[in-house]
């Protein structure tokens, strides 16, 4: 009983210390503000998601065409819009970079 209570008290104290650690380590910080993404950073993250999605779609189309899953006819119908999508996403990220020809997807 006594040992159990001692162990329980030790556990409780250890847990309190772990929880209080951020306050013990920085009792008086310069800023306690949460480090959040600002609107521009969020927009940049979304633009990169769009870019990666478009590049992945182009890459998959190229590979599916190579395997024969996508026919020549379907490939021709889709590759143009997808390349334009990639170029648009790159241009949105860097207006200068987007002026060149759209890149071919690498496998």
């Amino acid at each position: 009983m006594t040992l159990a209570l001692v162990l329980a008290a030790t556990l409780a104290v250890a847990c309190v210390v772990v929880v209080a650690l951020p306050f013990l380590r920085e009792p008086d910080p310069e800023s306690d503000e949460l480090d959040q993404l600002d609107d521009e950073e969020r927009r940049q993250l979304e633009l990169r998601e769009t870019r990666d999605r478009a590049l992945a779609a182009l890459k998959e189309l190229e590979f599916d065409h190579r395997t024969g899953t996508v026919s020549d006819e379907d490939y021709r119908a889709q590759v143009g819009p997808l390349r334009r999508e990639v170029a648009a996403s790159l241009q949105a990220l860097d207006p200068e970079a987007g002026k060149g020809p759209p890149p071919a997807a690498r496998n």
């Binding site: 929880v19 306050f23 910080p29 800023s31 993250l45 769009t50 590979f63 395997t67 889709q78």
Partner: protein, 664 residues
Amino acid sequence: MPELGRAALLVTLGLTLYAFVGGAAAAHLGRRRLARSAQNALVAAFVSTAVAAAVLLSALLRNDFSFEYVARTTSRALPTAYTISAFWGGQEGSLLLWLLVLTGFGAAAVSLNRSWARDLIVWVVPVFGAIASFFAFLVVAVASPFATQAPPLDGAGMNPSLQNPYMLAHPPLLYLGYVGLGVPFAFAMGALLSARLDERWLIATRRWTLFAWAALGIGQLLGSHWAYVEVGWGGYYAWDPVENAALMPWLAATAFLHSVMIQEKRGMLKVWNVLLVIIAFSLSLFGTFLTRSGVVNSIHSFTQSSIGPWFLAFIAVVVTLSVALVLWRLPLLRSPTRLESPVSREAAFLYNNLLLLALCLAILWGVVYPLLSEAVRGESVVLGRSYYDFFLRAFGLPLLLLMGIGPLIAWRRASLRSLATTFRWPTAFAVATGVVLLFLGAGSSIPGLVAYTFSAFVLATIVMEFARGTRARKALGATSWPGAFSSLVSRNRRRYGGYVVHAAIVLLAIGVAGSSAFDSVADAKLARGDSMRVGDYTLVYRSLDERSGPNATEIRATLDVKRGDRDLGTIRAGKNAYTIEQQVSNEVGIRSDRLTGEDLFVIAEQIDPNGTVYFRVFVKPLVNLIWLAGLVFLLGSVITLWPDRREQRRLATRTTEVGLPATR
């Protein structure tokens, strides 16, 4: 040391409440140290719950019957392995396991993602805290595993049907699945609360969802095998409410795993995906409620308890609040793109989703109907096997076909001419298979024949995809065919691991169709020397013997087995009479043919004092493909779960470009 266990759970409750309230305050007020402190509370909650679990495990292993739980679920004669499995064999222990896994998963998921998704994580922590607080409250105040009593000389023992090696793995795997679905739920809610509905919550939870889904799937197959060899009624799935309870969240998670690809590839179905996560997690809570509340009659429900109302209230709160959150964030969930064509891969995935969800809802209706009918008419009406079988055929067969169609259609749109070319060979193979099977007599069951034909179609598409992909990789510079194959799989683990899982589902479908649509059954009361026939088999009842096992008296009838003129040896079936538990179990005899996958399955239904035995005998063609499907499913799951370095590099590039830490 029950005091230590109780104190540890109290500490857990305090910590999870702090993670919930403190975490929510930190996220709302934007306080960095408080947010970090709430995350630490989640980790500490796992440690204190682990201490409580260690106390219970120690009490079980020491046969400390001063713990009510230990006395109720074990006995001195119980083998050690089953004594350990008693941890999750009873209600209080299984709730403690839920809490242990939940706090462990929560702490791990938060720690792994807090650097690169910090603005999302601050809202994920209070969600985990809220869920864990509920379970901590249950084990502290409603169903404590640490209640004590004056110790009896021996415990009541374990239900005989739970004394099976499968019970060492089946329940923990189901719990890993149920609780694992809490991770995508917590991240989805965190994303909604923080309004950070970019891809990060999907990326952070993708492997957790896959892991939970795989654990649920394998857990169910192990449970089916347990029912097959232990329960002794001649089947492996009885559409029992508790079995359905595990199947429903698995179906919802399967739908999510498919539809999430549409969001990742096309930015579509954001609302649908969040709803599927909510449905999957709510159904996992519902499954735990069904298993543990004793509210429905089930061969798997071993307890009657008072936790039902608490669970129902919690499920109601979870569903209400999460749907309200979705409605609140609806403007942010609008997709920038639309479905371009009804003939496209995303459309096929969408049809798959609708069928999966329809099957899930049909099963849910079957599960709750007895409860509703009792509440409305005062009479519990149970929907039988024919109800479920009808919907399995109506939704399951098209699902099987879609498994073959989906991978062969292009994203965005596919022309009909292209489809005709692509599907030419798989269709020819499937039709040829169907015709051959028809001539071999498979037409006795039309759904079975259709299942086989569709299975042939799907298998052909899978083989074709692997062959074409390997050939393309070889053409792109792979030095050898094995190298090309390895490169193909490692470059797109999700796609090709998914095909392996599809192959597992096909094996499962063939096994289920064979063993249920084309099985034979016969029963007879035999005296020694009598014989009976079933299918091509002849069985001769030779002898009956009895011996004392470690905790039961084992009675076995021995039968000689012949197929045609060929002697196949003997098979033994009988009963175990458990002394302490005062229960009798069927111990079936199974003879498997490894070449054909067929089982001869013998039940000694009734053993008379004069030695005559009433036998029921089944011949189950292809049933072993179901268990083989489990191994293939495991292989496919491991391939999809294996870390993908290319993807990690791509994510690292994306996050460092924005100024977030590169590592997760």
